[in-house]
């Protein structure tokens, strides 16, 4: 039965090429926007999702009160982590990241590189894949370093870098003990060179034992399985109290945030890649409105031409079609339209992805588009659009047709006011979106 409907749908599309082209194009552009926005939202939500132990990882931060405002700051004093690990048994590992820019050289290649000094248990907390070397021991010794594939290619070409040494700052030798895969784009931690924190001592790192010094230093906690995070958070302040002077108490409140929240946080002095959460809501709303406009377009084009099909509908009714069967037929036709539009929309998306990445500073890749979960998203967009755009025309077209139409094929005009209202709505939304875009654009500039 449905094959029949699809056959008719295709033939109808081919018969009215101009109208079909306009309709499909409109729907495709709308769908392309929706797909791109969905990809962006999905990308943002996927940040840090690849860490195996993500449900147990938390980042410590400091809350300060100034008058009526509360500010969060990401940097945490260096001695906090080992103290917390010692004082709080629920913590499995407490690890730090301390960031510096160093001149690194190997043979005749020398560049300034962002270097992250991390504790030896760092790779037990965060899941970055090792291509060479052992994640459990790579950073145990001082003056060791783990590099990304990108850095390995840059300095060593095809040669295995493990066992070779960098010279940092023209004076220190660092042994390369491991190579990891390039860090995924959707990670709040960005870096290519991870040096061992054990390199630091009192003389070369003044902040090592300072409870007052805050810089590019960040602290993460891996909690033991089954531990209640709220109970741990309460104990964090105690660590400060036991290690600082009473005159300094009350200055800071130590808090922690789950790994999943880091990408959306809004702290000062934060080197992590963040996006305000409100953006996602805005994108979602925009995507919905664009879909609405595209569907309304489809509805208007289809119902405006509905009187042309009165004759066919009359004949079908005489031949015995009941309303439900007619509705199914028209929904199938909408489905075919939508499917074709979706395919074209995917094509448009593929072409536009580099531009989107550029303008919106995203890092969408085609793999986001073509993986299993997103196919489900695409299918739901397909069905939602087909229903949204198809329901009203299906009901209008299957309305009881007076016998008059069969006798002399008079074309009846109707439904004008609803169409007019829908067009006004389309213009209103479009103008609103345009004004918003221009406003935001001017503010950003």
């Amino acid at each position: 039965m449905f094959i029949n409907y699809f056959k008719i749908a295709f033939r109808n599309i081919l018969r009215h090429k101009g109208y079909s082209a306009v309709n499909i194009l409109g729907l495709s552009v709308g769908l392309a926007c929706v797909i791109i926005l969905s990809m962006i939202i999905r990308n943002e939500l996927s940040f840090d999702g690849f860490h195996e132990k993500k449900d147990r990882i938390y980042r410590v931060y400091i809350e300060t009160k100034e008058g009526n405002s509360i500010t969060g700051a990401a940097p945490v004093m260096i001695p906090f982590a080992p103290a917390a690990q010692a004082d709080i048994p629920e913590i499995e590992h407490a690890v730090r990241i301390s960031q510096r820019s160093l001149l690194s050289s190997y043979n005749d290649k020398r560049f300034f590189e962002q270097t992250l000094f991390v504790d030896d248990k760092f790779f037990e907390v965060f899941s970055f894949s090792f291509l060479r070397g052992d994640k459990h021991t790579a950073l145990n010794e001082p003056n060791t370093v783990v590099i990304s594939q990108r850095i390995a290619d840059k300095y060593f070409g095809d040669v295995n870098p493990v066992g070779k040494s960098f010279i940092f700052d023209n004076k220190e030798h660092f042994l390369i003990t491991g190579v990891i895969e390039n860090i995924p784009e959707n990670s709040h931690i960005r870096g290519d060179i991870f040096a061992s924190f054990n390199t630091y001592n009192e003389s070369n790192f003044p902040r090592l034992n300072s409870w007052g010094g805050l810089s590019n230093d960040y602290t993460y906690l891996l909690l033991k399985p089954g531990v209640d995070p709220a109970s741990v958070e309460k104990k964090l302040n105690q660590v400060i109290l036991s290690h600082t002077e009473p005159s300094d108490h009350g200055r800071y409140t130590m808090k922690m945030q789950p790994l999943a929240d880091i990408h959306f946080s809004n702290f000062i002095h934060d080197n992590a890649r963040t996006t305000p959460l409100i953006f996602l809501y805005v994108f979602g709303v925009i995507a919905f409105f664009i879909l609405l406009i595209a569907s309304i377009n489809f509805i208007n084009l289809t119902t405006a031409r509905s009187s042309r099909r009165n004759k066919e509908i009359g004949i079908r009714k005489v031949a015995g079609a009941n309303r439900a069967q007619l509705i199914k037929q028209f929904l199938s036709e909408t489905f075919v339209f939508t499917l074709i539009s979706l395919i074209i929309a995917i094509g448009i998306t593929v072409l536009l992805t580099p531009l989107v990445n550029d303008v919106m500073k995203q890092n969408l890749s085609l793999s986001t588009l073509f993986n299993g979960e997103f196919i489900a998203v695409l299918l739901s967009i397909l069905i939602l659009t087909a229903l949204l755009a198809g329901m009203y025309p299906a009901f209008v077209l299957s309305r009881p047709v007076p016998a008059v139409v069969l006798k002399n094929s008079i074309v009846k005009k109707g439904g004008y006011s609803l169409r007019a209202a829908l067009v006004v709505f389309q213009f209103a939304v479009s103008i609103f979106l345009m004004i918003s875009t221009i406003t935001v654009f001017k503010q950003v500039l």
């Binding site: 029949n4 109808n12 066919e312 079908r316 031949a319 015995g320 009941n322 069967q325 009881p400």
Partner: protein, 220 residues
């Protein structure tokens, strides 16, 4: 099989009733071949459509095989007429987007007949009407007479007991018209009741009864 009592049809426009049919009393038995004749505007097509359940009367009672049609809801009406009645229009009214076979299949689709059975019935009808060679053509590729034949074939494919024809040869010239009437005559011979609306005395001659309508009344 068909019994009309006091059937009237009027259109209301700001309290003025325009009568198209007045006080129609009619009985038609199974197997008859009836021709409804009369001048333009006499209400012939309207009467036909009411009998065919495509339109409803404003007043009166209509019994089809003793069932009260005037009391039925649209759904029941549709059920009834699709299984018992076949319609042939003056303008053929074939679906232009479908081939001949697909047009013929349409009534069967809506009766939920299985695909294999459907294909069989279509093939059978094509054979009877000698149209097998044309089964994949589209209506606009056929001549008027051929299109009307397809329309008749479509009307009878579900084996209805009653065929209603509204000026079936109106758009055809004499020779083609003759073929159509011969076909209808043959069907009547096989037991199908036929009611046709026509202007032509010749066509009326094929039937065995004539009803004359004038200005909404039956002329006795």
């Amino acid at each position: 099989m068909i019994k009309l009592t006091n059937i009237s049809k009027y259109y209301e426009n700001k309290f003025i009733k325009t009568y198209v049919l007045r006080n129609i009393n009619l009985e038609i038995k199974e197997g008859e071949f009836v021709s409804i004749m009369g001048p333009s505007g006499a209400g012939k097509s309207t009467l036909l459509y009411i009998i065919g359940m495509l339109d409803t009367s404003s007043e009166g009672e209509y019994y089809f095989f003793e069932e009260p049609v005037h009391k039925m809801k649209e759904k029941k009406l549709a059920e009834l007429h699709k299984s018992h009645i076949g319609f042939v229009f003056q303008q053929y009214h074939l679906i232009d987007e479908l081939t001949v076979s697909e047009n013929l299949e349409t009534p069967l689709l809506y009766q939920k007949i299985k695909t294999s059975e459907r294909k069989g019935m279509v093939a059978d009808i094509l054979d009877r009407f000698n149209m097998v060679a044309k089964k994949d053509l589209f209506p606009n590729q056929l001549s008027g007479g051929q299109q009307q034949l397809v329309a008749i074939a479509r009307a009878i494919i579900a084996k209805p007991k009653l065929i209603l024809a509204d000026e079936p040869t109106g758009n055809l010239h004499t020779d083609q018209g003759k073929i159509i009437m011969e076909m209808l005559k043959k069907l009547n011979g096989d037991g199908t009741t036929i009611i046709q609306v026509t202007h032509s005395e010749t066509n009326a001659g094929y039937g065995n009864r004539i009803i004359k309508l004038n200005d909404g009344w039956i002329e006795q």
